[in-house]
């Protein structure tokens, strides 16, 4: 079998190629981080009391919110700069604006405790999700874990 394989083996190769690491881009990672931001903003708003326990909880929620807002931004930038290519821009002329505004929302959510801004970020991520999967010709419904 291996001898036969060697005899039959062509000397030239045709690449059914794919830029590595393809197939691993997914707006889901941005969505999970944005959801965490939204959740933390909501929880922060509802914290009452100013004892040490409440202060500690607030501090932890703030830290998580800022960290996740940064992760959301990083994930969006990866999609923007690595996944999306010039032909996509022709298809979606406001692609740059979409990502720029989404990244700005990440910054705003990092700085503020703002449920409304967190919802806006979720909407921006949903928009990116829809564009992303449309470019892949797949219908993947947007969903939230929370």
């Amino acid at each position: 079998m291996t001898l036969l394989d060697r005899i039959l083996r062509p000397s030239q190769v045709a690449h059914a190629h794919c830029d590595g690491p393809c197939g691993v881009y997914d707006p889901a990672s941005a969505r999970i981080a944005a959801e965490a931001v939204l959740s933390m903003a909501k929880k922060l708003k509802d914290i009452s009391g100013d004892d040490l326990a409440a202060e500690n909880t607030k501090g932890r929620y703030i830290a998580i919110k800022e960290e996740q807002a940064q992760i959301a931004k990083d994930e969006l930038l990866i999609l923007w700069t690595d996944y999306f290519k010039p032909p996509h821009l022709e298809q979606y002329p406001d692609l740059h604006d979409t990502f720029w505004k989404a990244a700005k929302l990440c910054s705003q959510n990092k700085v503020e405790v703002n449920v409304e801004a967190a919802e806006e970020l979720m909407a921006a991520v949903e928009n990116v999700h829809n564009i992303f999967w449309a470019t892949k010709g797949r219908e993947i419904p947007f969903y939230r874990a929370g």
């Binding site: 039959l8 000397s11 059914a16 190629h17 794919c18 830029d19 393809c22």
Partner: protein
């Protein structure tokens, strides 16, 4: 076949066969598939016969083309559509394919062959008809 006519006929047949063989050598080439982007139609390790004489391509054809981003490399993709002198190429496995969605349509002149059959592995043998 001892008559003179028979010998002439046989010789003619041999000459025709030799010419045909010579043409065949130039016309067809064998290629091995590397990569997943044409799955499940073509899998890594599939051996193909490619018709190098492509007068025209049609949507649906599986073709070889010069990689627009790395001219030394040959890629295998399916023709999605034709637009004048350009060809839009797609992988059958879009989730794992870099193709015209990324590098745009390629000039038709860069299409160098059409895949006509897969001959190995034997259970995967298949003729690609138009």
């Amino acid at each position: 076949m001892t008559s003179k006519g028979g010998r002439v006929f046989l010789t003619a047949l041999l000459v025709a066969g030799a010419i045909r063989g010579a043409l065949t050598i130039r016309r067809y080439a064998r290629y091995g598939v590397v990569g997943d982007s044409m799955a499940p139609t073509l899998l890594p390790g599939d051996f193909l016969v490619v018709d190098l004489r492509v007068a025209s391509t049609h949507p649906g054809d599986i073709v070889l083309a010069v990689d627009p981003r790395e001219p030394g490399r040959v890629i295998v993709k399916r023709v999605a559509s034709l637009d004048g002198d350009t060809v839009t190429l797609r992988g059958d496995n879009p989730a794992a394919s870099t193709d015209s969605r990324h590098f745009g349509p390629v000039p038709a002149s860069q299409v160098t062959g059409r895949v006509v059959l897969c001959y190995w592995p034997w259970p995967r043998r298949r003729v690609f008809r138009r």
